[in-house]
Symmetry: C2
Subunit: 351 residues, 2 copies
């Protein structure tokens, strides 16, 4: 350290522990939000972090870039429909897509436990390679750390991604209004249930396949068809419920969804019922939610349904006049109930 600098060194023995980090902090729900308010936004003021989007914005010459980062710690690291390598590429690229950026460059940082099987690593890296090639993004830089055996569990991967935001077609140009429709790109809750089933042998008879996948083709279809998307998010940690609550808060609106229209695969529904979970709160890794004007409902559905990953896109609800309850759901029998905000402690190490 050069002279005159303030040392922030503090021996551990001099620190008190008034409170401790809990699992809820990492689960993309209210626990995460409180954590971010307390620890992050209070410090990094004026940064595009404060926009709370999936990716931050940076300007290079006249080009708007998006920059995002995500660490993946999923347990187990192989699951039906994907692995941590596919997840790390698709998850980070999806975050770029959700701010309307076309992904271009990605970094790859591995943290490995000593004794990790090279054969497993080879499969995971093949997956990184395969999915970055499919998305035509370049893996530009990387890093590898190895942790002594027992001091971590298996493999963690960080991918950070850069995308080009302009031209962004007709995205985010129109304000959200009452009567706008909420569309989901496909059946929900499958990633969370796939991981739970893979983690717990014997829990279900047949493997449940994750929706883990790349949303870039959906973004391309929306841009090519000039769809005026008003808002879009991939429904990862905290599930669709977390996205709807975030929008209610961000835009000062209320949202109402209709339970019979919410697509859930039978195997996923079976496991959520067994575990006493609601699919609305379960993580997805290749499923997005978006808001468009009711007049654009059909063109949006047609554009999305032309792409394999969103061929089951469907309207699940609409923006309603602002109420005391930010998110509500109409059940099959017509009764409307509040959808509470996910509060965390849902499923650790889901992504």
């Amino acid at each position: 350290m050069s002279g005159g600098e303030k040392s922030l060194y503090c021996p551990a023995s001099q620190l008190t522990h008034p409170d401790l980090i809990s699992l809820t902090v990492g689960e993309g729900a209210k626990g995460s939000r409180d954590f971010l308010d307390r620890f992050i936004f209070s410090r990094f003021k004026g940064s595009s972090l404060a926009e709370r989007l999936d990716a931050g914005s940076i300007t290079c010459d006249s080009t708007q870039l998006a920059f995002t980062t995500d660490s993946f710690v999923v347990d187990p690291y192989f699951f039906p429909g994907g692995d941590i390598g596919k997840l790390a590429v698709c998850g980070t690229l999806n975050d770029l897509c959700m701010v309307g950026a076309l992904p271009r460059w990605i970094s790859l940082s591995l943290i490995l436990e000593e004794g990790f099987a090279c054969s497993h690593l080879a499969i995971i890296l093949d997956s990184v390679c395969h999915w970055s090639e499919r998305a035509t993004v370049e893996v530009v830089c990387g890093d590898t750390k190895v942790i002594p055996k027992g001091k971590m569990d298996g493999i963690f991967i960080n991918t950070s991604g850069i995308g080009v935001r302009s031209p962004i077609g007709n995205l985010f140009t129109e304000p959200i209004a009452e009567g706008d429709v909420i569309i989901v790109s496909g059946p929900i809750g499958s990633h969370g249930m796939a991981v739970m089933a893979a983690r717990t042998p014997g829990l279900v008879e047949n493997p449940i396949e994750s929706d883990c996948g790349l949303l870039l083709p959906v973004l391309r279809a929306l841009i090519e068809n000039d769809i005026p998307v008003k808002a879009m998010r991939d429904a990862t940690r905290g599930g669709v419920a977390a996205v709807l609550h975030e929008w209610a808060r961000q835009f000062g609106i209320s949202l109402s969804i209709e339970e019979p229209h919410i697509p859930v695969r039978d195997d996923v529904r079976g496991l959520t019922e067994l575990l006493g979970l609601d699919p609305l709160f379960v993580a997805n890794e290749g499923t997005m939610v978006l808001i468009v004007s009711d007049k654009d409902r059909e063109t949006t559905l047609a554009a999305m349904q032309s792409v394999p990953i969103s061929q089951q896109a469907v309207v699940i609800g609409k923006v309603v006049s602002r109420r005391h309850v930010p998110v509500s759901m109409i059940r099959g029998i017509g009764r409307e109930v509040a959808v509470h905000e996910p509060t965390g402690a849902l499923l650790p190490r889901i992504c």
Copy 2:
């Protein structure tokens, strides 16, 4: 997963384990190089990864950007002279500086063990904030994951950084030639020994301070003084010896250093001798090595010595005619010995 995609899913039970990841893979020496050849470069061909630099290059409009990533896992996460937060900012920004890029944007991804003390996290984040402000870089995006207690150790931080590479003054414009001088920016080996001492209570009487720091002021001084730097690297994992060996291989040259000129602090030398280590192989986190023409020796030293972090910059050797031994060292008594390439298993979790 949408229809027709090749599934890379492989149940763990069907995998064999011919070999396992060892600690040497993560230590920036020969073990790391072999790992990269086998696992990374074989897959990501044609990417700027293959240039094996501290940061990859990307082109945005007419601007050359540099992109780098690093995960930090140092144990302990507080050490004299810094903490994992300072290290994560300075380490990533230094990587950008070493390719001649001025750092602009950074990401911040936290992986925390359940039960991690919030008070410790606050100090670490203050440190991230302080050092990113000092470098005038913006923390653009972030992520937080929490791992169940016992499944990891404390805190890991990934920072990825983007810098602007042009204009880069007079850097990397001239080829390396026999007679060029090798300069080190300050005393070597202090980060590794600081961490070792902090990890092992009672090992030394007085704390050893790490060199952990920001090399950006040195880069600025080199650019402002139009110094034709031929090569530069921060001497992190594997120490100065790893940098010299990398250059020997990369440029097809041999390098000779003089032991009496190599700066090592007394407390650092004392501990290396106690542990039977050579300071040349010990990690630094705010110390760089560079090559300039002999004719630029004095202007380079003057530019570097005007900056606090490199005020003890000194010539330690020169480029010599190519020999069988890529890196050699002249001892005090005039005898020249080979400096072997670090092979790993040096110090786990040093950064």
